[in-house]
Subunit: 382 residues, 2 copies
């Protein structure tokens, strides 16, 4: 079960696993796939610690790092002297306070927009990390480890990222949601394109994987393409290869694995959700990102009193602080907080009904891929 | 290149072609696929004439008919004594008149909501046809011809349709956009399920083909499933088979064929469109249906003065009358009418860049399917 990129990346299966959890990254890499750590939630020091841990686990097997480098950010947020929190309008802070009151979310101190997130960090640090300068710090740390890929999750990889990666001999991947973006990313130096359909979790465009992948493959050839969005089993992996992709990039499927650090309340929501229970909403980051439907998305997207989402990274700053507090309240059993709690996930959430080890997910996908291709061979020969 | 349904339906390729144009239906059937005529625009007498023409063309080769039987219609519209036009509120008529004035659409007489559509018929006839009683008349006509399939495009096939089809020995197909609908359709007697992703043209749900098809296949087994939405080339057909479908159901790809009766202005828009140029909008029928973005969809969906779409079939009645006039004005060169003109089409519109005979489309799809499956066999053996 090999495509050309297997040789290029030193892996057994053309299966790339995006996760914010180091245990998932290590487990997939050890199972013969390629784990990619999402670095946005980390400070450079934290990232260094996580990657050192992964290095010890995978013992030379290949893995990668994904950083969020927004192509277009709110200009006010790029002033290095400014405190990002100062740019959040009063009406948005008030709306979050209103949601806390309406849903009875307790707070041991007065709620502060941008309060500490899941990883101990200040709001300003979090905000800066998704600016160009913030991402550069993470890139430097990542390239000091023996990574096999560095990915830009949003927007064109900046020249500094491409230059540094080239100098380190590390291929650059870029996620795209349109043909035009794919063309631009290859022009900017991407060595691998991840064509991500609208059904994917997190930041997505509007075009489905089925429609997007063949167009991107034709546009960027001979640059290899991974398919992302709607892929969580072996039949979907087979479909991605049939569309012309050289492999797949999966994110959502790991969120309900044993290794995932997904908060228990959210994990239970995911296990119970159908494929109708996600929405593309700006309410978490300021850009359209697919996530579980919850009171949080409904209030921001539909309530008449909603001020609407702020641009990135301001909405991210406001939302992640509030959702960290909501998450803690939800885990301690507060019913209103449980209604609000959500997380990024793709439409495949409807298939995720059981907690499994990440390694088992890999093996089951590869086995089903094999069965699916055998069935297709029979059809073709008939 | 055969699946089980090829034997069952007497076809060479598991490729079902939905079209409102009899020439496309006949061409695909003659090329070894299975043409399905969309009957909603016809009166029973017209349908009889169209099917007699197809009978003469295909000489015993299999084809089918698709009727629109809405599961949930505006109750006021089911009163057989009422004139449907009387149920269209003044504010909606006024908004259409406003659009005609704003875009300078000429009218040789005062615009009347529900005025004659592309096929000569009264608005009331058109409206009734999408009620249960209207659809029944079309079903009776269809079953007097040697059809190999009768399909329900929207909602559960009503008992009368299933009974009549059973008595005539004709399998019943039903289009679904969710797993729950698939379960219900099989319960109602559907012999074949068409699982249609959100990327499809016309009435669609929210779940993508990649995510929907495997779930529907698992839910309704052993009832066979066709995949629809996002399928317009052989790689996409291969992907559908990889997902577990027994075949594919394509609609959009025929709209730019030589045989299609697509109005020239709309055909040119389709050839120029990218996959970003469609939208799911209620503005044509009252239910979410994917179509070209145009001034028509933007005004109904986004303008502050828009009264919002009426329920089906009232919006359909209002829109089809107006769009018929807009279409005529667009073809005669009126620029405002050209901005408004649109039609149902899926996201694959971005792939449709060249007018081809329908037969060539079939052969190219099958050839590319063959290449795609060969590539996959190599990957599996590697």
């Amino acid at each position: 079960m090999r495509t050309e990129i297997c040789d290029r990346f030193g892996i057994e299966f053309p299966l790339f696993a995006f996760s914010h959890c180091r245990d998932v990254v290590a487990a997939v890499t050890k199972a013969g796939g390629f784990g990619v750590l999402g670095a946005v939630a980390y400070s450079p020091e934290q990232l260094d610690r996580e990657l050192s841990w992964i290095d010890r686990q995978v013992r030379g097997r290949p893995y990668g790092v994904d950083v969020l480098v927004p192509g277009k950010i709110d200009e006010s947020a790029s002033d290095p002297g400014a405190r990002l929190l100062d740019f959040i309008p009063e009406v948005h802070r008030d709306f979050v306070a209103h949601l806390f009151a309406k849903y009875g979310v307790s707070s041991d101190r007065t709620f502060t927009a941008g309060q500490a997130g899941p990883h101990p960090t200040t709001a300003d640090e979090l905000g800066r990390r998704v600016t160009h300068s913030g991402a550069t710090g993470l890139i430097d740390v990542a390239l000091r480890h023996p990574i096999g890929l560095i990915a830009s999750a949003l927007g064109t990889p900046p020249p500094v990222m491409v230059e540094k990666a080239r100098a380190a001999g590390v291929p650059v991947a870029a996620l795209v949601g349109t043909v035009e973006h794919a063309r631009r990313q290859v022009g900017a130096g991407a060595d691998l394109i991840v064509a991500q359909g609208t059904e994917a979790g997190g930041h997505t465009g509007e075009v489905s994987t089925m429609v997007l992948v063949p167009q991107v493959v034709d546009t960027v050839a001979p640059v290899p393409v991974l398919a992302a969005g709607g892929i969580a089993n072996g039949r979907q992996m087979a479909a991605a290869l049939a569309l012309g992709a050289e492999g797949v990039w999966c994110g959502s499927v790991w969120l309900t694995t044993e290794e995932a650090e997904t908060p228990p309340v959210v994990k239970r929501k995911m296990l119970a959700a159908t494929s109708l229970d996600t929405v593309r909403s700006r309410s978490r980051t300021g850009k359209p990102a697919r996530q579980l439907v919850s009171a949080w998305t409904k209030e921001w997207d539909e309530a008449t009193e909603s001020p609407g989402a702020l641009p990135m990274p301001l909405q991210m700053l406001l939302a992640e602080g509030a959702l960290a507090r909501i998450g803690a309240a939800a885990e301690s059993g507060e019913p209103g907080a449980r209604e609000l709690a959500n997380y990024f996930v793709g439409q495949v959430v409807g298939q995720l009904n059981q907690v499994k080890p990440a390694r088992q997910v890999v093996y089951e996908m590869i086995e089903e891929l094999s069965t699916a291709t055998e069935r297709m061979s029979k059809i073709t020969r008939a």
